[in-house]
Amino acid sequence: MYLDANATEPLRPEAAAAAVAAMGLANPASVHGAGRAARKMMEDAREVVARCFGAQPVDVIFCSGATEANALAVHALGAGRAVFYGATEHDCVRAAAPGGGVIPVLPDGTVDMRALEGLLAGQPGALVCLMAANNETGVRHDMAAAAALCARHGALLHVDAVQAAGRCREDWLGMGAASIAVSGHKIGGPMGAGALVVSAGREVMADLRGGGQELGRRGGTPALPAIAGMAAALGGGYEAARIAGYRDEIEAFCLRLGAVALGAGANRLVNTSCLALPGVRAQTQLIALDMAGVAVSAGSACSSGKVAQSHVLQAMGAGALAGQAIRVSLPWNAPPEVVPGFCGAYEAMAKRALHGRAGCA
């Protein structure tokens, strides 16, 4: 039972078909007929992505994924500016801006707008990086308010839309954002493609210059199958109400067993629930659920597979609960059976882990 969509969404059939169709094509930069066929496919994909985010095709820069898209935004848009990012941002943003300032979040996980205003007043013309939805909690910042604040202080807003794209409709460029990072496999496409979408005509200095692909903004032969798959996935549709219903049922059940839903007070992605079980280590929960055939995640796994304490939950002031929370994230194609299936496994895990601890809080 797969409940780890925020790590990667299951591949959508239309995305798989598009990727397969693109495999074996020529280099889109080639000038011959075969190259033109590949190029057409890539430009078709560019138009789909542009339309989806309210941009012009020329402002879509394809790359390898969100880590690269976010880094490109931080480097290109942040050049010569102070960089601020939210305390709950993904490591790929935090690592791209080693000297960046941290914008605190409130206990519900949303960005502290007053703190942001203070930072911007002190350093006008900064680059502000915020995620449209958090990968661990699903918490969504008020991006319209953040964009307005940035506009007032001459700051640029970069939106990490990796988790929000495809799951909620928001017109970030329309709000005034300068750029948006997306990842193909987080919306049901294949791994290996992402895009940085910038506001009209914004210039981007390449991180990788290479052969001058993507109008000199990102060198390297593009991964056409993954790009075509990403574009197809964007057209796949998302049954938000159905997914929300499952999530809410699961969450209510777990709360009755003593779990705490972190960030539940905020506006959230419909598919995500961050469930802390007081007194039970996240890793123990994760292993028990895995052994029962239920795939969830906890914190941020490093390449060793070790589950590290979540910086997201720590920033929210979750205290000890930060090490006792798992992330349940429903995939786009979750069947109704996922609700009783997960609840049964969770109940068995919680009862065993809490067994014999009654009375010792």
Binding site: T284, C302, K306, V307, R352
Partner: protein, 348 residues
């Protein structure tokens, strides 16, 4: 049966995981991450996991079993490394492997195994667990040169009930390696691990310096009647019975006592043996014998057996040795009846 296997990434615990899987058990391999490898080797940007963790994961992949890495860094730092430094700072000679077994492997990990619905936990220790009329018994390994029972003497009876040690029956390490090779495990020829895993260079002073710099400050070397014979660079560098690093004036002498308060190393002519040894925190694997019991006692990891009478005293015990022997404070004294471990405690 669902069995949790403590996998270090070495050949021994890898074979144990393979044996359990082969026997048809549902195996959950767990590797404790004890310290940050990247920080330990001092290479910026290095992964927190070392080669051992990657090896354990590959073994699990090969065997087709579940495997998890559990973060035990904070616990290891506090209950093993800091305790190790504290022990040296108080003039004792610690056994960090016993502390690690006690607190991490047979403490936290075993607890986790129970939480996961495990019915047993298996490790790669060379020791035997035999079913007796009054529950599980701990015995020395068949291969005496590999026997690790001395390091496991703090294991409680309840923990022992839950544990399995399949390597205790193997006649030699070569046999274990052969099984690893037959299972197709890449670690079959991997070198044996270090004595103390967190001091790979063999110099433990660095660890002590980090946690207890006071234990590495200068002090006096004195004779038993108080005559100053020289100076030393920290009491943590000495162990009772040691003859090295005493300087010319104290040549042919040995350390008889370490005084943490005055930072003095007291030396005397060879003969630091004692007939009576007091023990603290004794763990009995039999019902504590009220009037005492005759046993063979080992007071170091590779000690010979000393005949003694062990008399319980509160939570500790008094050892009355038939012949005088060297007893270094902080080391473990483990009591045997033939191959069977009766219990053990720490020398005061």
């Amino acid at each position: 049966m669902r069995i949790v296997v403590a996998m270090s990434g070495g050949v021994d615990s890898s074979v144990v995981a393979g044996l359990m899987a082969r026997a048809g058990h549902e195996v959950i391999g767990v590797t404790l991450q004890l310290y940050d490898h990247g920080a330990a080797v001092g290479r910026k940007g290095a992964c927190c996991a070392g080669q051992d963790i990657r090896d354990a994961k590959r073994v699990a992949d090969t065997l087709g079993i579940a495997h998890y890495v559990v973060d035990a860094q904070a616990r290891f730092r506090d209950s093993v490394m800091a305790a190790f430094a504290d022990s040296y700072a108080s003039g004792q000679t610690p056994v960090p492997c016993i502390a690690c077994n006690q607190h991490l492997k047979f403490g936290d990990l075993l607890e986790m195994a129970r939480d996961l619905g495990g019915e047993a936990m298996a490790t790669g220790h060379y020791v035997r667990r035999l079913e007796g009329p009054a529950g599980a018994q701990m015995h020395q390994a068949v291969d005496e040169s590999r026997d690790q029972s001395w390091f496991l003497a703090a294991t409680t009876r309840a923990q022992l009930e839950f544990c399995r040690f399949p390597l205790g029956d193997y006649a030699s390490k070569a046999q274990v390696r052969a099984v690893a090779a037959e299972m197709g495990l890449g670690v079959a020829e991997k070198a044996d691990s270090q004595d103390i895993c967190f001091v790979p260079t063999g110099s433990y002073a660095g660890v002590v310096e980090k946690f207890r710099p006071d234990a590495l400050s200068e002090g006096e070397i004195v004779s038993e009647d108080g005559v100053v014979l020289g100076t030393h660079q920290g009491i943590a560098r000495y162990t009772v019975g040691q003859a090295k690093r005493l300087g010319n004036a104290a040549a042919h002498m040995v350390v008889k006592k370490i005084e943490p308060g005055t930072r003095r190393i007291v030396v005397g002519p060879r003969r630091v043996e004692s007939l009576e040894v007091r023990l603290r925190d004794v763990n009995w694997l039999i019902d504590a014998p009220e009037g005492g019991i005759s046993a063979g006692v080992k007071m170091r990891a590779r000690d010979s057996v000393h005949a003694a009478r062990v008399v319980p005293q509160g939570s500790g015990a008094m050892l009355r040795l038939d012949e005088p022997a060297l007893a270094a404070p902080g080391q473990a004294a483990v009591f045997y009846d033939g191959s069977r471990v009766l219990g053990g405690g720490f020398i005061v």
